[in-house]
Every structure is written in C-alpha cells, then in structure tokens.
Symmetry: C2
Subunit: 170 residues, 2 copies
C-alpha cells in the first residue's frame, strides 16, 4: 500500500525539481545556424551585468548551470563544454523618480553563446545566437551572421572569446 504513494510523491517532487530550472517552452524560432532559444533562460542565475555608453543599453549576463558553476569556481579559461552565457539587453532610460538611476526601458534582444569546441570550431568553439525584441525574432538572414559575432569576440580570444568577466558575488 505504501509503495504507490511513494511513487506519487516521487513524481510530484520530480515536477517541482524540473520547474526550478526549466520554464514552459516559448514559441521562438531557432537561428539560421540551428540554435534553439534555451527553455527557461529567464530563470537562469546571474553572472554579471554591464552598461554600454556607445549604444545606450544595459544588460544582465546569465548562465546555465554549467556556466554558473564554472564562473563561480573560476574555470573559465576555457569555459567547459555545454556552458551557455546569455545576455538580456535593454535600452536605457532615466528612472522617473530618481534622476541619477539609469534603468531598463524597451527590450532590445537576447543573445547567447554556447560552448562546444568541436561543433562550433569554425567560430572559436562557440555557437552564437541572438533573438530581437520582445517578439524574439531570430537575428540573421543566413548563417553568415556568426562571422559578425566572431569578428567582435575575437578581440577577447585570450579570454576564450568571452567579454563577460564574472562579477564578485559573496
């Protein structure tokens, strides 16, 4: 009699457990290089933030479990296979009640980079993807957009092509 009850509890807790890292799948198309929008990205943990003075944006940088573990343990040269770094980017605006606070306005895009040295060997070991705006439209008409990503990221080849420097979080 006890065994079926334990199985039900087990199923229930498995569902709770999965919900911690995965949200409901969104209707977002993959990019032309075949990268899917990671399910549950908005629930990932923080690695850093940044503010750009050239294009009037700010962003938070999140990571999947592999990337967060690597960043917290300092294993980022190179980042381990399966690491995904994600940027959520917003246009800046001034806080309506605090003039010196610059806060997120409209959503610009989500960007990710996925580490797989063999699968993405032509782009420095990282697969790149971007989805534009609130509608999350895939960026790039064809696969060539990844060369645009690589051109910029090659400036930080010494850091495994990653601009993000994990922030100190006590």
């Amino acid at each position: 009699m006890k065994y079926p009850f334990a199985q039900i509890k087990l199923l229930f807790i498995v569902i709770i457990s999965l919900n911690c890292n995965f949200a409901v799948a969104k209707d977002v198309s993959p990019t032309k290089n075949g990268i899917d929008y990671p399910v549950g990205l908005k629930n990932w943990r923080v690695i850093a933030s940044s503010y750009r003075t050239d294009n009037n944006t700010q962003r938070v940088i999140l990571g999947n479990n592999i990337a967060v573990k690597a960043s917290r343990e300092g294993h980022t040269k190179p980042w381990p296979k399966g690491s995904i770094l994600a940027k959520l980017v917003w246009k800046n605006t001034t806080h309506p009640d605090w003039d010196s606070a610059i806060i997120p306005n409209e959503f610009v895009h989500s960007e990710i980079m996925i580490k797989d040295a063999s699968k993405y060997k032509t782009t420095g070991g990282w697969g790149y993807a971007r989805w534009k705006g609130e509608s999350q439209e895939p960026y790039g008409k064809d696969q060539s957009f990844t060369q645009e990503c690589l051109a910029c990221h090659s400036q930080v080849k010494k850091n495994d092509y990653v601009f993000t420097i994990p922030a100190t979080i006590p």
Copy 2:
C-alpha cells in the same frame, strides 16, 4: 524490495529540488533589526538592473520566488506578503578590452527589502537590511538605520515604496 529503493530516490530528488532555490548557508550576521541574510540569495532570479551616475555603481535586482512571480504577473501594487527584493551592487569600472562597456568592479553591498505589512508597519510594510562588502558585514549600529532606508524609499510610496521597475523579459 522496491519500496526502500523508491525512498532513496525520493530523498535524492528532494535534495536536488532544494538545491534549486537554496544554497549552503553563509556565515553572515543578521542586521540589528533582526533580518537574516537570505540563504541562496545569489541564486535568485533577475527582476531588473540599474546604473547609478551619482555614486558610480551598477546593480542587479533579484527576487525570491514570491517576488519574481508577482513581478512577472504585474502584482506589485502592493507586492505580496513574503516578497523579498535583493540588490547586488558593484562599483563601476571600464571593461579592459571594450572602452564603452562599464562593468562591475568591487562588490559594494547586498541589500534586501522584505514585505510584511504588519511586521514592518513602522517602515511602510517593508523590512530593510544591508550587508557591506565581500565580508557581508551588517549595516547599521542599531535599528535606527531603517529610518534612513525609509526616508529615501518614501519618495516612491506610490509604488509600494519600491524603486525597482521590473524589466521586460520576454
């Protein structure tokens, strides 16, 4: 024979489940108004970010599960009981390889506000706490520091005393 095996699996999955939201407790003292540092805060989800031009800092604003759910559903006037908003604050510095990117430098402090209209009725329904620096030393010699918090947050009484405007995250 099967029953004990199911129990072991159950225990294992309970442990995994708890790890999704709670990390190992840190050796951080409570503030003088009796607020404990929330266990697992660094693993909470993102609500917003901000950049301050007056004190040269940037921050990410995280929330516990109650706060994240409320922010995503737009139930923030008032925020529900048990909501905790947390700010991780860093001094700004220029990215060494990208002049127009301003990124986190040294850690300044963690701040939280906890909603409980009855427990914290003398401070607008929110309990305030701050822990300074990487050592996470509690801010405030006695309870009076909360009046300092309230003085500032009263400017946004219309928004349930909260400056944070949840960022759009598709």
